[in-house]
């Protein structure tokens, strides 16, 4: 278990050069805010739905490199996917982070680089933040709502 498992070059790249990071997405259909009071991480995720697919997704927030880089990698992996497919991919990522095998490796794109984070239990929730916000955004949208806030204990 080395630091390189935790901070792969791909992760550092997403941290230094974030993709789809923006404080707004105009227009968007759903906006969720997730916060983790324990470490102070805050994340906003905005999603535009187009013909039942992820038309556009943007995130913004304040958090550690793992949480921000993971959200960045997530936005690339889910862009253009059917909503149900994006949700399934988020579930695959969640299982990977809990050490339950790697499914849909090719579809996760740079998300695969976060496998090593699973060896650092205290940082797993950091990597999950963006993906859990995505799952919540999809759920919120499916319920006909446009806003949702979640605070983790």
């Amino acid at each position: 278990m080395s630091l390189d498992d935790l901070y792969q070059e791909i992760i550092l790249d997403h941290y230094r050069s974030p993709r789809n990071r923006s404080g707004d997405l105009d227009p968007h259909d759903v906006h969720v805010h997730h916060s983790n009071p324990l470490c102070g991480d805050e994340l906003d995720l905005r999603l535009r739905v187009q013909d039942g697919t992820v038309g556009a997704v943007a995130y913004d927030g304040d958090g550690c490199s793992i949480s921000m880089a993971s959200a960045s990698a997530m936005t690339e992996a889910v862009a253009g996917r059917k909503l149900s497919d994006a949700d399934d991919l988020a579930e695959a990522f969640r299982l990977m982070m809990h050490g339950e095998g790697v499914k849909r490796e090719d579809d996760l794109l740079d998300g695969v680089a976060f496998q090593g984070v699973a060896k650092f239990p205290v940082r797993v929730k950091c990597a999950l933040l963006g993906w859990m916000a995505l799952k919540d955004a999809l759920q919120t949208y499916s319920e006909g709502e446009a806003e949702h806030r979640v605070t983790y204990d």
């Binding site: 550092l12 470490c39 102070g40 950091c126």
Partner: protein
């Protein structure tokens, strides 16, 4: 002067390695390491004395009671408190909860102000908030200035109302290290309202500064054992006996009673009225051994050692490009908890990389979210020093910061 190399030999844990490197323990504000004498005192108690206290007529019960009560006297002397007013609790947090439940809930009402500050640990915020709705007192906070001091203009303005009936304040910030001039503030509060009660959070100050309750002008002083070389599981509420006598009990059960019938109960005298159930006996013995250890070195020597560390640490940190040190920079005005930020880096990443370098620091909100929020972030990185830390370890801290910056290329 304190011989730090000799002191270090008393702390077995400091010998260990972390990730293949010599441990540099800079998290004493969270909990301190324990000297061999504390470990030995507790082991000896369990090997030779262990019995329940205040009941039973056999020899062990008498010896255990003697050890427990002697620990109370030792702790009382250490902070110049009346032993009758020294209540052993689970931790400092429980001491605050006791005060909120037994004092604030029964003594405060509409129109009264409970004045606290933005610099408090959650232990000195949440218990008051819990009892506020049923009593309806006005909960006010003194803000913190950008320099990490209390805003005295705001303090004066609230005190001038004459409605402050309880003033509760930390004597030393656990995040930015500021030493609060408790005595001056207490005098102002009392001048405006003679009936006011002053509560002091000594969790950070008692381990590091010689403490005299009378000199502080505190009616109540709360602190914990584990931050001052003692074990976890024990805290202290030291208070004025007359106030404690007038307060209703907090927790009910055995030990705290005088007589129990099915119709009702009369309570034991203080401090036992506030010590329901079997108390932390071995922990009290360990805490007394910790106090003896600190007293043996002398709190003046402990403080002088920490000031010396700060004189090296603060300039060394400020010299690192991109590093901002929070709180007062003058060692005379601060304790040895030093929070800092590294531009472009999140505290959790800093903490993780430093850990790999063997340097244990704390990253997060330090259970003081209102304070940390005023620093403009959700978290800080905190290095906190104690009597066993060396100037070499400050260099290790600086090296670890450089290593972190290199790793993230900022």
């Amino acid at each position: 002067m304190l011989d730090v190399e000799r002191v270090r030999k008393d702390f077995p844990l400091l010998e260990r390695q972390v990730h293949g490197r010599r441990l540099v323990y800079l998290d004493s504000a969270a909990t301190s390491q324990k000297p061999q004498s504390v470990l030995d005192a507790m082991t000896r108690y369990y090997e030779m004395t262990n019995a329940n206290v205040h009941r039973g007529v056999h020899a062990l019960a008498e010896e255990a009671t003697e050890a427990y009560e002697s620990a109370r006297n030792t702790v009382a002397r250490f902070v110049c408190a009346d032993p009758r007013g020294v209540v052993f609790t689970k931790n400092a947090t429980e001491a605050f909860n006791l005060l909120a439940y037994s004092w604030a809930r029964t003594r405060l009402g509409q129109g009264d102000i409970l004045l606290s500050t933005q610099m408090e640990h959650h232990a000195n915020l949440v218990p008051w908030q819990l009892v506020q709705p049923e009593t309806g007192f006005d909960l006010r906070y003194v803000p913190m200035t950008a320099g990490g001091l209390l805003d005295l203009d705001e303090f004066d303005a609230v005190v001038a109302t004459g409605r402050v009936k309880l003033f509760t304040v930390t004597a030393m910030s656990n995040v930015v290290g500021t030493i609060i001039p408790v005595r001056e503030l207490a005098a102002k509060v009392r001048a405006a309202n003679r009936a006011a009660v002053v509560v002091v959070d000594g969790a950070q100050s008692v381990p590091h500064l010689g403490t005299d309750m009378v000199d502080l002008d505190a009616d109540f002083l709360c602190f914990s054992g584990h931050k001052m070389l003692g074990p976890t599981g024990i805290g202290v509420l030291a208070g004025r006996p007359d106030l404690l006598e007038a307060m209703p009990p907090f927790l009910g059960g055995g030990e705290m009673i005088s007589n129990v019938t099915l119709e009702g109960t009369t309570y034991n005298e203080i401090p036992y009225k506030f010590e329901a159930g079997t108390p932390p006996i071995a922990e009290a013995v360990g805490l007394a051994a910790a106090v003896d250890y600190l007293s043996g070195l002398g709190m003046d020597a402990v403080r002088a050692h920490e000031v010396e560390l700060l004189q090296t640490c603060i300039p060394a940190l400020k010299a690192v490009e991109g590093v901002t040190v929070h709180g007062p920079t003058d060692p005379a005005r601060r304790g040895a908890a030093v929070s800092f930020a590294i531009e472009g880096l999140h505290p959790h990443d800093i903490g993780t990389i430093m850990d790999r370098e063997g340097v244990a620091v704390r990253a997060g909100h330090h259970c003081a979210k209102p304070l940390v929020r005023t620093l403009g972030s959700a978290a800080t990185t905190r290095a906190s020093f104690y009597l066993y830390n060396t100037t070499d370890e400050i260099q290790a801290l600086v090296d670890a910061i450089e290593a972190t910056k290199n790793f993230f290329k900022v």
